[in-house]
Every structure is written in structure tokens, then in C-alpha cells.
């Protein structure tokens, strides 16, 4: 474990830039902390924190000039490995036939990203998407290439966010695996950052930065802060038996209740770091001699997502909400071995009507427990 001073963060960014990485980090744009290319540590949200609640997001000032004092914003890191739009191929008309070429050197799928400030929940989300795009019979080559070329600097949370719930899902607040470097920002014993090295690649980059070994009490202090963040988390979602609970409650009256609130706006799927549904658009130029196929993010909340034979299978918003939460918490386990939810809280913050996934699941779960308890007592 190393200790670096606040100035060294800029050195780190410069080392990464020298290594041909495009450094992406949280940065203030208007009134939200989003993710974008940064060229110096001063572009991080210095001295900012956020206030998050269902359908509520505010950036606030804080006393200490921290770099990572806020929680996650509306952007998730999935946009860098799994771009919102991606050209799949070009086609050119050739008489009665056509030629198709894949755009292998497309910059969209060949960039080297250094992600600076990945929270533990988002790190888990990246691992979840690794299984989706890289674990099946068919893999996404663009995702795998971007992923393999990336450098990840994680950040451990020392403050519980307003809507997140990583501890109950065991996805945080401490980053455990999957990073090249992991930072913990400490402000109560002066201002410095602890750095944990995760890989050789991380060690190599860190060697270009001014650092010293961390003292035991510094490490202990950071651990204490991380633990406190876990304990102060306001929400929870019990991940056990999600399949039994959701599969057996397809007709629960709660779906009608949440269905009336849900606007099918698709915000939740856009901000969710693990949602992966896409659609494709085939377009031609005005002459018709060139065509392209573009893959775009899609959402199961759109009415025509499940369109077949003249109608949609999931026509009601009730059915679409039920599908989304069932997929996220239950079907995902059957498909990929883990739940798709990492407890980042974004869907709760960015839902315009403040639907809370932990609350909806709690209601269904309580019914399930009541029914099964009743059975086992006879």
C-alpha cells in the first residue's frame, strides 16, 4: 500500500496520457457530475459532493477540497466498453449483389481508455458485463478489445451515497478485484490518497508517480472510513433466492401499483451500469449505394422492444417494469451466474417518479417469505 499526495494525482494523469491513454474521470458539467475526458486533476469535481434521493440529485459544495467526494453520477463506465452507438459493418451495392465489410479499425472500438475513479459497485458492474459480452458462445469483439486495452483506477468509497446499497449485495464499498490501481482518499488526517496496486500494469504506471509506503495507522484510518460507509448505507437488497421470489410472483398486485407510476421513460436502463440491450439500425446514404448497420443502446421499456406479429408481447408498463426487475435480479442469475444489480443506486436517483428497486423487491420478497413460512409451519 502506498501513500501519494494530492498533487501526485495530476502526475498519475500525465503518466497515463504519456502511455497513450484517453483519461476519463468524473467532472462537473452544468449541475451534474458526469464522466468525460480530463487532462488534469483540477478537472475532477474538486470540493464537490452530491445529495441523492429517489428522483432527486443535487451537487453541493463541501468544506474539504476532495477529488472524489461525490457518489456516482448519471453516467456509468459501460459507455466506454459498450458504446451507445457502434458501427457494425458497411455494405456497398454491387450490381444485383452487395459487399459487406467490418470496420475493424474503427476508433470507437480501438481506443485506449484509462478510467479514473471507478467505484466498487461500478467495478462489479464491469465484471458483470464481462460475463455478458465475453462469457457466452458469441462474444462482442469490440467490447473485449476495448476492455483489454483499458487501465482502471478504482476509488474506494468512504461516504455512503444517498441511494446506493452495495454492502447488502456484497459489491462494495471496497474494491477487491479487477483494478490496476485502487485509491482511497483520506481527509481527516491531512489530505492524501492511499494507493493499492492490483496488477503489474498498475505498478508500472505508479512507478512514474511520487509515492511513499503507507503507514499502518494511515491504512487503518482508511479501512475505518470504508467500513463506516458500508454501515451508513441507507438501503439494502437481499440477493438470496431472488429467482424463487420473483418467478413465483408474476401476478403480485404490486406490479399493478408500480406499473401505474412507471412512465416507461427508460432512464433506469440508460443509467444502469449493467443493462446491455441493444437494437440495430440499417441506413443507406441518399444514393443508396452505401449502407451501414449501427448498433444502439435500447431499452426493454420501449413499447416495440418485444414487438412480434403485429403487437408487443409486453404491452403494459406493468409488464415491462416486471420484466426489467425480474431480469435484473433473477433471470440474470440463470443466464450469467450473478445478479445484474450492483447496488449503485442510479435507477433510484434518476427515475423521474422515484421508483426504488429495493422497495419494490422488498414488497415481493415479504409476500414470498410469508407464503413459504406459512407452508413450512404446517
Amino acid at each position: 500500500m502506498y501513500r501519494i499526495e494530492p498533487d501526485a494525482l495530476n502526475e498519475l494523469i500525465q503518466v497515463l496520457q504519456k502511455e497513450q491513454y484517453a483519461v476519463i474521470g468524473p467532472t462537473l458539467r452544468g449541475e451534474a457530475i458526469v464522466l468525460d475526458t480530463i487532462s488534469s486533476a483540477s478537472e475532477l469535481p474538486v470540493g464537490k459532493t452530491d445529495e441523492q434521493a429517489p428522483a432527486h440529485y443535487r451537487v453541493e459544495d463541501k468544506a474539504e477540497k476532495t477529488f472524489f467526494g461525490a457518489s456516482v453520477g448519471p453516467h456509468s463506465w459501460k459507455r466506454y466498453f459498450f458504446p451507445p452507438t457502434l458501427k457494425m459493418f458497411s455494405a456497398r451495392k454491387d450490381g444485383e449483389s452487395f459487399e459487406v465489410t467490418e470496420d475493424i479499425d474503427n476508433p470507437e472500438s480501438t481506443k485506449r481508455y484509462a478510467l479514473l475513479g471507478v467505484r466498487a459497485c461500478d467495478l462489479s458492474a464491469i465484471q458483470v458485463q464481462d460475463k455478458v459480452f465475453g462469457g457466452g458462445a458469441y462474444r462482442d469483439p469490440a467490447y473485449l478489445r476495448l476492455r483489454q486495452q483499458a487501465f482502471i483506477v478504482a476509488v474506494n468509497c468512504t461516504r455512503a451515497g444517498g441511494t446506493c446499497f452495495c454492502s447488502s449485495l456484497r459489491t462494495g464499498p471496497r474494491a477487491r478485484v479487477g483494478f490496476d490501481l485502487a485509491l482511497t482518499e483520506v481527509v481527516d488526517q491531512g489530505h492524501f490518497l492511499l494507493v493499492e496496486v492490483g496488477t503489474d500494469k498498475g505498478e508500472a504506471v505508479l512507478s512514474g508517480v511520487q509515492r511513499q509506503p503507507a503507514k499502518d495507522e494511515e491504512v487503518e484510518g482508511a479501512e475505518h472510513a470504508i467500513r463506516a460507509a458500508a454501515q451508513l448505507t441507507g438501503r439494502s437488497l437481499e440477493p438470496d433466492q431472488t429467482r424463487e421470489i420473483l418467478y413465483s410472483n408474476a401476478e403480485h398486485p404490486r406490479w399493478e401499483v408500480v406499473g401505474k407510476r412507471c412512465l416507461s421513460c427508460a432512464n433506469c436502463t440508460m443509467v444502469c451500469p449493467t443493462c446491455f440491450c441493444t437494437t440495430v439500425e440499417d441506413v443507406t446514404d441518399l444514393t443508396g449505394s452505401n449502407a451501414e448497420r449501427v448498433r444502439k443502446w435500447d431499452s426493454c421499456f420501449t413499447l416495440d422492444f418485444s414487438y412480434i406479429h403485429g403487437g408487443s408481447v409486453r404491452a403494459s408498463s406493468r409488464a415491462r417494469y416486471r420484466h426489467w426487475i425480474t431480469h435484473k435480479l433473477a433471470s440474470w442469475v440463470d443466464q450469467f451466474g450473478t445478479t445484474g444489480c450492483v447496488g449503485c443506486g442510479r435507477c433510484i436517483t434518476w427515475c423521474p417518479v422515484g421508483i426504488d428497486i429495493t422497495e419494490e423487491f422488498r414488497v415481493i420478497r415479504e409476500t414470498y417469505l410469508m407464503n413459504t413460512r406459512g407452508k413450512s409451519s404446517t
Binding site: F98, E99, V100, F133, F305, S331
Partner: protein
């Protein structure tokens, strides 16, 4: 994966809105290998892709697809003719239990446009006829003018080692064949319920009721196979559209054993 150009050798109209195309690869492989039950994503230049079951003879070198012209892509495809090209991605998906059915009776039940996806399995079984018991084809369509593969059906009916029963929901004047839903044909099929494989394709409601009829007659749920359909964009389990509960129709299906679907088929809007 990118579409591979195939050239249309022949187009044939089966009914007013249903047509068959026969394709050969423009270059490269000489034969398109697939298993009965699988599908391709067919690409129309500049228009889009659509999943369609492969419905030709697996031992034949020509690739055959039969489809109804109902959506943007299939309507554009209906305008193509000999010499035009389409893109093919595939074959994808699971297949009919042709090997598992050896030594057993086989009952095919096709509803409407459900006959094309079953045809490759029927071809394969007929090619090794001695390995199977009784083989029966039950086919139901809307009206007599919606019957596809008319010439072939006549040939099959003439065989002594294959029983073919056809029915329509709605008769036209002069129709002397059976009238009634396809489930009413099941009791004519005369199969050994304890040693039968049933393969069913058609609208979901039809497949559910057909399955019930087989179960009523003592056929084991594990011996009943259905082919499902859902909206598809990628065909390879990455776009999320074809999910049916936790199942991806494109890679866990389209052919499923009934127990996999049992709890899902009865849920609404799932």
C-alpha cells in the same frame, strides 16, 4: 458477425402472402450445413434483418427459406427475384430431437406457417425411415388457400410409411377435407403415447392446447418439443430482445422441450 451474400436461385409463391426462396452462396462453401430447427438472420441490403427458420432438406446443397410477407424486411424480400442477393448470418439456435426420436413414433403438428420449420426434421427422418416407428404429420391452417407446400403434401400423402392429416379452421365452398382446429386431428394419429416424440410449431395458443392434448393421452412432458418465436435483433444472445423469462429464444431455443417452457407459457406478457 457479418452477413454473407447468398444469391436467389428461385422464388416460389406458396399462397397469396407466403413465398419460398432457394439460395446458394455467392462464393466460398458449396453447402450450407445446418440442423433441423435452426434459423438464419436474413439481411436485406439497406433494409434490415429478420430471423427465419431454415426449411429445406439438410442433405440438399440449396438453402431454403419460406416466409410470410408481413413486415418491412419480408415485404422487401418479397420483391426480389432470381439473381438478387440477400445476406445470411447463421445457422443459429437449437435443433429438433431427430436422433433422440430413433426407435420411437414421431408426430409432427404444424399450425399455419409452422410447417416450414418442421420440414427439415421430416426430411431427415424420411431419409432414415427404418430407424423410426410410426411417423405422422398433422397440419392445420386458416383456410384451404393458406396451405403451403401443396405439391409436396400430395407426395407425402401418397407414401405408405407416412400419415398426413390436414385440417382448416375455416372451409371455403367446395372443400371436402377436414374442418376444425388441428388438435382434433391428434386422436386420428394412432401413436404409442409411451414411446412417441411430438414436435409442435404454430401460434403459442395452438402449441399450448396441442401440448395439453398430448399430455392427456399419456405422452411424457419430456417427449414434447415446441419451437418459440420472439423479437430478435442479433440472433446470438447479446441484444436482449428475444428473452422469454430467463431463456434467450435465439440461443436456448428456438426448439425447447416442454418442461423448460411449462411455467412460462401460462404467464401473461412475460
Amino acid at each position: 458477425m457479418i452477413p454473407c451474400p447468398f444469391v436467389i436461385k428461385r422464388v416460389r409463391w406458396e399462397t397469396e402472402d407466403t413465398f419460398t426462396v432457394e439460395l446458394t452462396p455467392r462464393e466460398g462453401r458449396s453447402k450450407f450445413d445446418f440442423l433441423p430447427g435452426q434459423f438464419n438472420m436474413i439481411y436485406l441490403y439497406g433494409v434490415g434483418e429478420v430471423p427465419i427458420s431454415i426449411c429445406g432438406d439438410p442433405s440438399d446443397s440449396v438453402l431454403v427459406h419460406t416466409t410470410r410477407a408481413v413486415g418491412t424486411v419480408t415485404k422487401a424480400m418479397a420483391k426480389l427475384g432470381r439473381g438478387d442477393s440477400v445476406g445470411i448470418r447463421g445457422p443459429f439456435g437449437t435443433s429438433w430431437p431427430v436422433a433422440e426420436a430413433r426407435g420411437k413414433d414421431v408426430v409432427f403438428v404444424a399450425g399455419g406457417i409452422g410447417l416450414p420449420p418442421l420440414r427439415p426434421a421430416l426430411y431427415e427422418i424420411l431419409a432414415h425411415r427404418e430407424n423410426y416407428g410410426k411417423v405422422v404429420l398433422l397440419y392445420g391452417t386458416r383456410t384451404p388457400s393458406d396451405i403451403v407446400f401443396k405439391d409436396e403434401l400430395e407426395q407425402w400423402r401418397a407414401r405408405f410409411d407416412l400419415e398426413v392429416f390436414i385440417t382448416v379452421d375455416r372451409a371455403t365452398e367446395g372443400w371436402r377435407g377436414n374442418v376444425g382446429v388441428v388438435t382434433t386431428l391428434i386422436h386420428k394419429a394412432g401413436f404409442d403415447a409411451h414411446n412417441t416424440i411430438a414436435m409442435i410449431v404454430g401460434p403459442e395458443v395452438m402449441m399450448r392446447f396441442t401440448t395439453i392434448e398430448f399430455l392427456k393421452r399419456g405422452v411424457s412432458p419430456d417427449s414434447i418439443y415446441l419451437s418459440m418465436e420472439r423479437n430478435m435483433k442479433c440472433g446470438i444472445g447479446l441484444c436482449g430482445h428475444c428473452q422469454f423469462g430467463p431463456l434467450f429464444i435465439c440461443k436456448d431455443g428456438p426448439v425447447f422441450r416442454y418442461p423448460q417452457l411449462k411455467d412460462l407459457l401460462v404467464k401473461w406478457e412475460i
